[in-house]
């Protein structure tokens, strides 16, 4: 099956549109970095205007904060870039008429689906690694490093410089699971279609619809919100909140709600298993002769 996955990866990276995502991420991150390098002081001054009773000294606009800002903005849009490839994995073959030929090879349909899904997952992970290199490492290089000073809506979190990097490792690992869930959804929808446009647009529509639903504080929807994968996709931010002791001192190396992260990971992994399982089930039943 590894051979089949390699072939799928080769096919993904032979398509020029695969690199659109890498190009788009590079351009977006560069735009944010240049903007903040040129006029980051205005951004920081605006944020600090909310803490008028305090004097804050130090390099607030450092690489760690820049990376957090970029992730906040990009991790909402990255699903679109992932969908472009994942939702095309099977529907693209059907559209080109190569599906029937491919299935004459000595592989089971389950192996075929899994190989395609693993290839889509590898693409997703590579996109996130590229995002991490640009957003974290390049920002660290350009803006330097210091404590991470985070403005949340109701409070401020100050994380020591030595306590930040592992949180980014955790956040990117979490984001990888979240984005794989998106890839799994797109992949699942591609099983039913004869062209790529339908699954791509459907996946994005579902994500937008569920995101709107999950941000509405209406009690009726609160019942289903904990089970929607989009509710959990943004919980990488939990890595950047720390516990405090009875004296309100932040405890280094802690996460405010580790259980929240675990719960989110369980929901996301269950969605991945569900989508991939359903993809295998429906693809095995699919009529490829028509």
């Amino acid at each position: 099956m590894w051979k089949l996955t390699q072939i799928e990866l080769y096919k993904i990276f032979q398509r020029p549109r695969t690199f659109i995502s890498f190009g788009a991420i590079t351009a977006l991150i560069a735009a944010v970095q240049i903007g903040l390098k040129v006029d980051g002081k205005s951004y920081v001054d605006f944020m600090l205007s909310t803490t008028s009773s305090l004097e804050i000294e130090g390099n607030i606009l450092n690489g760690y904060l820049i990376c957090y800002i970029i992730l906040q903005m990009l991790l909402i849009n990255v699903p679109l870039l992932i969908t472009l490839i994942a939702a095309d994995m099977i529907s693209g073959e059907a559209n080109m008429g190569t599906l029937r030929v491919l299935l004459t090879k000595p592989f089971s349909r389950t192996e075929f689906v899994l190989a395609k899904f693993f290839a889509a997952t590898v693409y997703t992970l590579l996109l996130l690694i590229w995002l991490a290199i640009l957003a974290l490492f390049v920002s660290m290089l350009v803006f330097g490093t210091d404590d991470l000073f985070l403005f949340k809506s109701s409070y401020i979190v100050l994380i020591k410089e030595t306590d930040v990097f592992w949180r980014y490792c955790g956040a990117f690992a979490f984001a990888a699971i979240a984005m794989t869930t998106v890839a799994a959804l797109g992949f699942f929808l591609s099983v039913f279609s004869e062209n790529s446009i339908g699954p791509i647009v459907s996946t994005m529509s579902i994500i937008v619809f569920l995101t709107v639903l999950s941000t509405m504080n209406i009690p009726f929807y609160s019942l289903i919100k904990p089970y929607l994968f989009v509710t959990h996709m943004n919980n990488w931010k939990e890595f950047f909140d720390q516990q405090v002791n009875e004296n309100n001192e932040a405890i280094i190396g802690t996460i405010q709600s580790p259980q929240k992260i675990v719960n989110s990971l369980i929901i996301l992994v269950l969605h991945i298993i569900g989508f991939v399982g359903a993809s295998i089930y429906f693809f095995r039943k699919r009529d490829i002769l028509s």
Partner: protein, 229 residues
């Protein structure tokens, strides 16, 4: 009747004179601090502000006569009450032109203290009123409450140890008023779950506190002007 009248008049004159006569006490407290031309000290700072989650941090402070004061964090970002932390005892008693009034006595940390209210004569002064709790026995300022024009009221409580002979505290508890902090969720991209808001509302109107524990004072060894830039 006449004798009683004379007695009360005399009593009020004496009482009034006593109330106006706290300048010598302030000068005595200042004389102790005057032994120090400059100092640097290492310390540990704890920040307790309700809307800030910050760890304990190592700091270094520098003072040079007449009123230069600098607090530097040992790397990293520091959070300090605006204009407040620089109001240390040396700078408070460095004010020359003031009226010192007696305002009774109080027990602070088990020490009997005399309350003195300092009113600056200079109307341009940022400090409106300073209330000092002076331990006359040890000639130390145990507590000071300073009201400023621009930055509200600050309260400092000091604990002394090895450097008491110089009037330098081992520990300073700094209390100040904080304003509410709020950022639009559209900026932070956070959407609270119902129920979280009430918990945060309960925590409003709490004072901010900064606690600094000083160690390793280096006194009168000279400090470069560059430190204060």
């Amino acid at each position: 009747m006449r004798k009683i009248f004379v007695f009360f008049i005399t009593y009020f004159i004496v009482a009034a004179t006593t109330a106006q006569d706290m300048t010598p006490l302030v000068k005595k407290a200042r004389a102790k601090l005057d032994l120090v031309s400059d100092y640097s000290a290492e310390g540990v700072m704890k920040t307790d502000i309700i809307f800030i989650k910050a760890p304990i941090s190592k700091i270094k402070v520098y003072f040079k006569k007449p009123n230069k004061f600098k607090l530097k964090k040992d790397g990293g970002i520091s959070l300090l009450p605006k204009g407040g932390i620089s109001v240390n005892m040396s700078t408070i008693v460095a004010v020359d032109d003031y009226v010192a009034l007696a305002a009774g006595t109080a027990i602070i940390d088990g020490y009997k203290t005399t309350i003195v209210k300092l009113l600056p004569n200079n109307e341009a002064s940022n400090i409106v009123l300073t209330t000092m709790y002076i331990d006359e026995e040890n000639m130390l300022v145990r507590k000071a409450i300073t009201t400023t024009k621009e930055n509200g009221t600050y309260e400092m409580q000091m604990q002394y140890g090895a450097y008491a002979k110089y009037g330098l505290p081992d520990k300073v508890y700094f209390t100040f008023n904080t304003k509410d902090y709020k950022l639009p969720k559209g900026i932070t991209l956070e959407f609270d779950e119902p129920g979280q808001k009430n918990e945060l509302d309960k925590l409003k109107n709490k004072k901010g506190k900064v606690e600094i524990s000083y160690t390793n004072y280096v006194i009168n060894k000279g400090i470069s002007e560059d430190v204060f830039k």
